[in-house]
Symmetry: C2
Subunit: 556 residues, 2 copies
């Protein structure tokens, strides 16, 4: 290969910023299609606002306004919250630099986790309208107003028109306003309207309102006054670590630590007794495990020693990772929300304990199935098919439906096992929320969950548990129906029989009284013993209430 | 909000490198699951090798070796090519820095387009085994050997053990070898084995071999000696630009240009006559369009002027963007490949002209449907369902099946319109290749195509065109079958009839001769006129060959 040719090929060699990457691949951030792009903007700002409020222990109050500038093309979006605001030092980077923020490196359950979203919106405003976003940040005793843009070539913030004022009242919160092109507002199933409704359904402590371009204002006031527990940052559990994680953490350590204190202070569930146990395993006498000096400086830990440590971790017993950092939406709230939007005849909700994936990342799956009423999705031909409502850390997932582990799990359930038709043919709505300190999204757009084995399996199990409850309920309905039919078959002879008996028995017996007695006899003794129902309830309502209770009993 | 509280919240504010981001979200690069991770590694190295060879005008020869270190856990992977090699200056960045390379910023059809893949593999080697990748690069008169790692905190390469030698024979090529943990080798449908087979099927000019951990060597020698045209870099077309693209390009321009020469030299299809036309539109006399001085320096172009320019672009006529930068696999090659792997009874292939998306990005869709033989996918219960073979720029897509626009388009086709059952119930294989200078992938893992309207629609149209051909073919088969049945119904009377006629006619007529004549009469006149078939062919083969030809005629 001649030198000149190679040189020519590589004359094009360049480096790029992450902002350039996401500008060229904005679909990876959720900016594809006009409606989706607008929902993405609302999603990023709203989840940031809720996260910020929860971080500060404030009940979130969020106002979203969408104003039309050019129909089907350009809209102004603003989001105002009562969170802690963002200090001057961080404001530019928080809104004008990708991969900067408070969340990415932390091991806590939050809606955002990448440090890309808000800066991605700023970029989208710039590349579609050439305008920066306008921000008002109130925090401590300051009120800061400015415009923020992303310098895309360098992925760094550009701040202009900065005004700093005193804020003697101590008001706090963030207001972000941007003008966006290549967006469109409509009230479809994947619109900001639906998004905000779903936020309200899963976040009862949030008051949120939407002012639509039509001027219509929809407010969802909070139904719970309980400030959610602050997202707790947890130390990593030894079983959740790879060799490279340990090496990275150890080498970052300052020299005042030795390996023993490093392990006890930087990880959860490591006591000094546990270190002694590990030291025993790593004393050089265990087959296939290297010797490790626990007095060694962490910064000198070798890859081989870290590998040995990982092996040693797997040979001692551990208390499971703490899972109190995981906050579910809660069965009651899910029940209330589904009842509210779908008015179904029956809702099966599961409550399951937290699980662990990849050895140490705690997560929790909540699943529910709504049946009857408005459950399922109406097709244009008037047929009804199944529907899926997906959440990750209580933030709605509206896009990338088919590529999501939740959808896959719902489809993979063997619904026939629960006496149901194929998933697509049932008028049911499956609801799933995945809560975790790290949601394994398939892409930076955060709209679908990657099919990690343990997560996928737990989602499937949770849906199956709900399906089992639904099955029991439907079996109850069918039994009730059978029972009612048989009862009716017997009871229709009562008038004739009571008349005949009355005649046989003579003057003292009125047919009406006989009929009453006969009916009672049939309803109690006959129905109970002959038809094998031991519960002896008298009502034969078909609204499923009873059957539901019965199911619960049977399951316990 | 008290200052201390806000400060505390923001004490965690940090910046991160893109390497840190993808380390934490490695599933976005395709590193999720042991088998997939191994296929991702092979995919990244092999596509880079083919791209490099094509860039240098060399017929690619690629050797992939996978060696087992620990079963179901750790493997050594090496890929060797005969491309141009990578010069010392760029070697570290090409393999040890994300978002660096020759491809990202270019407007040319290549398999890679992000500058992430190879550095992602280096990172995966590091975080799973702690080892850098080993590289031998032969280029010009040099042979360079070294180890490359990614400094994840800074996203920059670390080069060690560098040895530079003379390379007097002028050999050229790249050899990359890495040791990877959390991977597994097997021969499943999403394995490196399948991947390499699919590379061979769509790239007839490539010789590629795989040495499996078992020691088995599979070689796919090239079937075409034609060096593919070098991927052509094209200038952007005015209709494919957003306002921010124009502003960016204009502001990057040195001061020797004015707007007129900037437009003519930096974009395709802009002649000086076209600039005059644009100047006419932007003379300040067009309603709603700003005045622009075409003698102005590009670096002084304002956002408003650029907006006006975009409007002006849409008001003049343009020659469509050049599409000779798009290289299809070719109908013949697709036919050969599908015949080879599926031995189907019928293959419908479409050849369609290039289209444009987002105003100026040229792309081309090739689609085929295989029917009968081994087409479709066998399920464990012996039922057969449909299958989809997806390619993007002739690189196989094996993962993220359900989240891909190709899958969605195939499912959304109304198959009943083509007299077929539901998509899932047909034993057909749908083949689609999307060729473009920019494939809109859903994520950095490059395994699924985003549902961009124009791309999705063209994929669907291409599949529908193939489905129509299949329908005609099947209609032909059915007609043949009808015809054969009716013929048989008549012909079975021939022996009796010829015998009876012979007796009536007397001694000179032999029944055998009469039977022959009668049969001929039925086969020609009767079948043609009475059954309404004008073609008069005599054969009644049911293998579909004839019917296929007939379909083609009917379609033309």
């Amino acid at each position: 290969m001649a030198k000149s040719n190679t040189d020519k090929i590589f004359s094009n060699f360049k480096e790029h910023s992450v902002a350039e990457f996401f500008k060229k691949n904005k679909q990876m951030l959720g900016f594809s299609g006009k409606v989706r792009s607008l929902t993405t903007i609302v999603h990023e700002y709203v989840t940031n606002s809720i996260d910020a409020c929860e971080e500060a222990g404030t009940l979130p109050e969020i106002e979203v306004k969408i104003h039309e500038i050019t129909k089907n093309e350009r809209y102004k979006v603003s989001v105002k919250d009562n969170g802690p605001g963002i200090p001057k030092k961080h404001l530019g980077k928080a809104l004008g630099q990708m991969l900067a923020g408070t969340k990415f490196h932390r091991y806590a359950q939050q809606r955002g986790q990448q440090g890309i979203g808000a800066a991605g919106c700023t970029m989208y405003a710039q590349i579609t309208t050439g305008k920066p976003v306008y921000v008002v940040s109130e925090y401590a005793d300051k009120k800061l107003t400015c415009n923020v843009a992303v310098d895309i070539k360098t992925n760094s913030p550009t701040i202009t028109d900065e005004v700093e004022e005193d804020n003697p009242q101590g008001a706090h919160g963030l207001y972000v306003e941007g003008e966006f092109g290549e967006v469109n507002y409509e009230r479809s199933a994947q619109s900001p309207y639906e998004y905000i409704k779903r936020i309200a359904l899963a976040n009862p402590h949030v008051t949120i309102s939407l002012l639509e371009p039509t001027g219509e204002l929809t407010t969802y006031p909070r139904s719970s006054e309980i400030v959610p527990k602050k997202p707790k940052e947890v130390l990593p559990h030894p079983l959740g670590l790879g060799v490279s994680d340990i090496v990275d953490l150890a080498h970052r350590e300052t020299d005042k630590y030795n390996m023993s204190s490093f392990l006890q202070e930087r990880f959860q569930r490591v006591s000094s007794a546990k270190v002694d146990e590990l030291a025993q395993v790593m004393s050089g006498k265990t087959e296939g495990i290297i010797y490790l000096d626990f007095k060694k400086k962490p910064s000198e830990l070798s890859w081989e020693e870290a590998e040995g440590l990982i092996k040693a971790f797997s040979m001692v017993k551990w208390i499971a990772p703490a899972s109190d950092c995981i906050h579910p939406i809660g069965a009651e709230q899910i029940q209330t929300s589904l009842a509210h939007i779908l008015a179904p005849e029956f809702i099966a909700v599961t409550e399951r304990p937290p699980k662990i994936y990849k050895g140490g990342v705690p997560f929790l799956v909540e699943a529910a199935i709504a049946w009857g009423g408005q459950a399922g999705r109406r097709l244009s031909n008037n047929q009804v098919t199944s529907d899926i409502i997906r959440y990750a850390n209580a933030a709605p997932l509206l896009f990338d439906i088919s590529g999501c582990a939740i959808t896959q799990a719902a489809k993979d359930v063997d619904w026939k096992r629960y006496k149901l038709k194929n998933f697509e043919e049932e008028a049911i709505t499956v609801f799933v929320n995945l809560a975790s300190v790290h949601i394994p999204y398939t892409s930076a757009g955060k709209q679908a969950i990657s099919q990690e084995d343990e997560v996928y399996q737990e989602i499937k199990n949770a849906i199956m548990e709900a399906a089992r409850r639904l099955q029991l309920h439907l079996a109850g309905i069918n039994k009730e129906r059978d029972r009612a039919q048989r009862r009716n078959a017997v009871i229709k002879y009562v008038p004739q029989l009571s008349h005949d008996l009355s005649e046989l028995a003579g003057k003292n017996t009125k047919p009406e009284e006989l009929a009453k007695k006969l009916t009672l006899l049939i309803e109690t003794k006959y129905m109970t013993h002959i038809l094998g129902d031991e519960s002896g309830e008298e009502g034969l309502e078909e609204n499923g209430k009873e059957a539901e209770d019965a199911d619960d009993e049977k399951e316990e």
